[in-house]
Amino acid sequence: MSNPLISARGLTKKFGDFTAVNGIDFDVYKGESFGFLGPNGAGKSTAMRIIGATSQRTSGTISILGKDPELHGPQIRAHLGVVPQQDNLDMQLSVAENLYIYGRYFGLSRKFVKGKVDELLAFAQLEEKRDAKVENLSGGMKRRLTIARALVSEPEILMLDEPTTGLDPQARHILWDRLFRLKEQGVTLLITTHFMDEAEQLCDRLIVMDKGSIMAEGSPASLIKNYATKEVLEIRFGSDRNQEMGAKLRTMCERIEELPDRVLMYTEDGEALLEKIYAADFHPKTSLVRRSSLEDVFLRLTGRTLIE
C-alpha cells in the first residue's frame, strides 16, 4: 500500500493527571473513510484535535501528509476541512456569507470563493436559505452548512466529529447521503461517532476506542466476524428476571450478555435458538433476532454499551 496520509505512533495526550489518549497507533490512507468508534470520553475528539493541529500531544509521534502538526499548524490545516462536534457557525452572518468568509480565511481569492459558494449551497441543499441568518436554520441545516463550510477550501481530508449527534433520523440520512457523495469523489473522511449504525454505514475501516486506548481495529464486517457471532437473539423476561434467566440459558449459546433490560444471546442461527428456548419451556416476554452489529463488538470488548 502507498504511504499513509496520517500516521500516529504511541500518540498520547494528558490533561493534568487525566490521560485522554493513551499511546494509540493508527494509519489513515488516501481515499478511505476512517472511523473512531467509542463512547463519550473515549478520547476520539482529542485525537481529532491533535490531527487537526489545534491541540498539542503530550508524547508520541504523528505525521499528517508527512508533516508534524506542532511545527506546521497553518500548512497542515490548509489540507483539512473540519466539522466540529459543536457547530461554530458565524451567527452574525447569513448562510452564504458564512461560506464566503470561511473560504477567505484560507486566503482564497474572492472570485474563487464566490464560485465555490454557489456550488456548496447546492451540495448542502441550502440554496433557498442563501440569505437566511444562521440562527434561523434547523439543526440538520446547520450541520449541512458546517460540512459545506469545511469543503470550501477543497480539502483532501474531511474531519467530522460526531457529525449526526442530535439530529433526527431523516436529517441523519440526508447527511449520510452527502458524505457518501464526498467519499465517491475520493475525499478522505475521518469520522468519530458513538453510533454503531453510523460507523457501519460510513466507515471502510475503524478503530474501537475506550478510555483513551484502541480496543480493536478493522473493517466493520471483519470486526463483527472476529468479535461477535452472525446473529443475536435479544429476549426480555422483564427487568427483575433478566439476570436470573440469563444464568439458566447460558449453556444454550456461544456467549450471553445480561443487560438490565434484556438478555443478548450470540449464535449463528437465532431462530433455531429461539425454538430451542421454547422447547425447553422458557417463555420470554419478547424476542428479536437480528444480525450482529458493532454495538455487540463493543460490548464484547469492554463489557459496556456504547450509549450509556
Binding site: Q75, A78, H79, P84, D90, I101, G107, L108, R149, E154
Partner: protein, 271 residues
C-alpha cells in the same frame, strides 16, 4: 489552492501563529457590520455627542470658561478632547471585551477560524484592527462635530485623530488579553467597574489639580488620564515633551497586550 497559499509563508517569521490574514478578518467585520452590528456603532458615536451637548451646554452656562495653565478657554473646548479620548476607549473596550467574549465563548467563532490555515496572531490582530477602524471613524465623526463648533483651538488638533487610534489600540489589545481570562458574562462587569470611575475621575470634566495629592498620583497612573492629556494637549496646541510620554504609555500597553493576547489564544486553542 489553500495549500499553496499556506506554503508561501513557510520559513517566515511567526509562521506557526500568523498567516497574514488580517484583511480577511476586517472583511468579516464589514460584512457583519452591514447586517447586524451597525446599531452598536451608531450608539458609540452618539454617546460623546450627547455628553458634549448635556455637559458642554448645561455646565457651560454656569461656567462659561475654564483656566488651564495660563490660558482661558471655553468649558466645552475643555471637555471635548476628553470625550474624544473616552469614546476611543469605550469603542475599543466594547469590541475587545463584550464582542470578543461572545465570539470566544458563546458563538465559538474563533474555534472555527483557527481550524483554518490562520493562526492566533491573525485573530488577535484582526479583532484589534477592527477596534481601531472603529476608533478611527468615531474620532473622525466626533472631530467633524466639534471642529465647526470652534472647540478645537489649534491645528495640531488634527493629530488627535491618530492619537485616538493609538489610544484605541492600547485599550483593545489589553482588553482582549483580559477577556481571554473571563469565564462568565458576569465577570465582564469587572471591566465596567474599572472603566466608570476612571472616566469620572480622569480629568474629563475638570482639571485633576482639584484633587488631594494622593488622588492625583493615583489618577495619573490610569491610562485614560494619559489619553485625555494627550488629546487635550493636541487640541489646545499645548505641544511639549509630556505628550510623547503619554503616547509612550500607550505604546507599552499595545506591546504588552499583544504579547499576552497571542499567548492566551495559543493556550486556549492549542490545548
Amino acid at each position: 489552492m489553500a495549500v499553496a497559499i499556506a506554503e508561501k509563508r513557510v520559513g517566515k517569521l511567526g509562521e506557526r501563529v500568523y498567516s497574514g490574514r488580517v484583511p480577511q478578518l476586517l472583511e468579516r467585520g464589514f460584512i457583519a457590520f452591514k447586517s447586524s452590528t451597525y446599531m452598536i456603532v451608531i450608539s458609540g458615536f452618539l454617546e460623546p455627542v450627547l455628553y458634549l451637548l448635556s455637559f458642554g451646554y448645561g455646565i457651560g452656562k454656569l461656567l462659561p470658561t475654564i483656566t488651564v495653565g495660563s490660558e482661558t478657554i471655553k468649558y466645552a473646548a475643555f471637555i471635548a478632547p476628553a470625550l474624544l479620548a473616552t469614546s476611543a476607549m469605550n469603542g475599543a473596550i466594547y469590541d475587545s471585551t463584550m464582542n470578543v467574549f461572545f465570539k470566544l465563548n458563546h458563538d465559538r467563532i474563533y474555534h472555527g477560524m483557527l481550524a483554518t490555515s490562520m493562526g492566533p496572531l491573525d485573530v488577535a490582530l484582526g479583532e484589534i484592527g477592527w477596534a481601531l477602524l472603529r476608533g478611527f471613524s468615531y474620532a473622525c465623526a466626533f472631530m467633524a462635530v466639534i471642529a465647526p463648533l470652534g472647540l478645537v483651538e489649534s491645528v495640531w488638533g488634527l493629530l488627535a485623530i491618530p492619537a485616538a487610534v493609538l489610544i484605541a489600540f492600547g485599550f483593545a489589545s489589553c482588553g482582549m488579553a483580559v477577556t481571554s481570562y473571563m469565564k462568565s458574562f458576569q465577570q465582564l462587569e469587572i471591566v465596567n467597574m474599572f472603566l466608570l470611575p476612571m472616566f469620572l475621575f480622569s480629568g474629563s470634566f475638570y482639571p485633576i489639580s482639584v484633587f488631594p495629592q494622593w488622588l492625583q498620583f493615583t489618577v495619573n497612573l490610569m491610562p485614560l488620564t494619559h489619553a485625555i492629556n494627550l488629546v487635550r494637549g493636541l487640541c489646545l496646541g499645548h505641544i511639549n515633551m509630556a505628550l510623547l510620554g503619554h503616547a509612550l504609555y500607550f505604546v507599552v500597553m499595545i506591546v504588552f497586550g499583544l504579547i499576552f493576547t497571542t499567548k492566551r489564544l495559543n493556550a486556549l486553542f492549542m490545548k
